[in-house]
Amino acid sequence: MAKLVLKHLLAIRWFHWVNFPILFLMIWSGMMIYWAYPVYHIGPVPLFPQWLFAILGLKFRLAEGMALHFVFMWIFIVNGVLYVAYTLFSGEWRYLVPRSRSAFRDAWHVLLHDLHLRKEAPPQEKYNAAQQIAYSGIVVMGIGSLITGLAIYKPAQLAWLAALCGGYEFARLMHFVLTMGYLGFFVVHVGQVILAGWNNFRSMVIGYELVKDGEQS
């Protein structure tokens, strides 16, 4: 018989939907800051050309960017810490963290399956191995953004942290690369959500997913 299954707990839905606009705001304000010194190039080509900042209306907004970044960082940090603590104490981490030795091979097979290059998907629990790696990886990335962010925010007072990150310049690069990583995650994540369909998306809002006869919950 068909059934409704509580897929996403209320707290996790809150953490997710608080994080989404806050992370967007951190990236947006981060670009206002980056505009003042857009240092990264591929050969002679700037990664973020001036016309892009112009189109997005992000020029000459360094002070505003800093005033957003260093205020909303608190929500980003607190929300992230609460999310990790909640998944640990509730036991939800078991679904999210890859625990099988074959996780990376399975994730590769999931990728091939999703690209229609392989017929069968590997067996999975609530999340497949690729999802587990992505959802755990994004938490590690968040911690990385916090650490590298602190290192470039206070390179004198936290000189030891900057040194640990390979120096100020390298910490800055990592902070930037992680941000690019979020954009990549976002594209794949939204694509997968669209492919997974309405029932799946709805469960991230209302919690419950409709599971039809014979389907795995």
Partner: protein, 260 residues
């Protein structure tokens, strides 16, 4: 199924009704939460401005400043570098340096700087007064708030030594220091803890040469624990004060503490 993830098993018609009910409720609450969140954000952004920043954000920035000031310690040093790492520092910011050099290219005359402190009759000090203090050299990074940084060698006297010598012992230490160019076209406010940090210098040499006019000749502030905007050029006034001093870029939307 487990205790955290209950299942609802019902006949199909009831299940559809239950799902509709949960959807209505869930999306209504989500909509309200989204509207509430967006409304709160808009309320913050449209709040009255405190020095060009919406006051709730300004309050948090000031709190951040207090937090980092309380953590600051004389043992927290900006890293030092070898001389081979010294780079080119472009002159950035001419506020307070409006006078033109003369026909020979010499910087305009400088008549020393004023020293003010509570209960002290203002005095004028000369470069030689500062140079009578122990000389310190350091090769540190000069960090612009725009994001770039350059390693430079500086020589000068520690502001802590300056304070010990020129602030009358009876006057007592103030909470802040205010420094400005002559005429106060450019001015910075400093918390005393940062001002007395061992790397805070009243500098007269840059890369083993006397300061040039564009970099603040003959005497400037070098404070590596702050962004470049606080490193006042061509000092015209030093005032010890218990009132949080004005600050040029603070008034233009930047953080008052601006510490690194």
């Amino acid at each position: 199924m487990n205790k955290h993830h209950p299942e609802i098993v019902l006949p199909e018609a009831d299940l559809t009704r239950e799902l509709k009910k949960k959807s209505r409720r869930g999306f209504l609450l989500a909509g309200l939460a989204a509207a509430g969140g967006f409304g709160a954000y808009k309320a913050v952004r449209l709040a009255g401005k405190d020095n060009e920043v919406p006051w709730p954000q300004r309050d948090v920035l000031n709190l951040n400043g207090k937090l980092w000031r309380s953590y600051l310690d004389d043992a927290h040093l900006m890293p030092s570098y070898s001389a081979s790492r010294i780079g080119y520092l472009k002159p950035n910011g001419e506020y307070g340096l409006d006078d033109e050099p003369d026909d020979q290219g010499n910087p305009p005359e400088w008549d020393g700087f004023q020293l003010h402190a509570p209960g002290l009759t203002p005095v004028t000090l000369q470069l030689s007064d500062v140079q009578s203090l122990p000389r310190h050299e350091m090769i540190t990074k000069f960090c612009c708030i725009e994001g770039w940084s350059v390693v430079q060698k500086w020589a000068g006297a520690r502001f802590s030594d300056f304070t010990r010598k020129f602030l009358p012992a009876g006057a007592g230490l103030t909470d802040f220091v205010y420094m400005a160019t002559d005429g106060e076209d450019y001015y910075v406010g400093l918390d005393m803890k940062s001002a007395l940090h061992p790397q805070t210098l009243l500098a007269w040499e840059q890369n083993d040469k006397p300061l040039v006019y564009e970099h603040g000749a003959p005497l400037r502030l070098i404070i590596p624990v702050k962004y470049g905007i606080k490193n006042l050029k061509r000092i015209g006034l030093i005032r010890y004060t218990n009132q949080k001093p004005r600050d040029y870029w603070y008034e233009r939307g930047y953080d008052w503490f601006a510490g690194l």
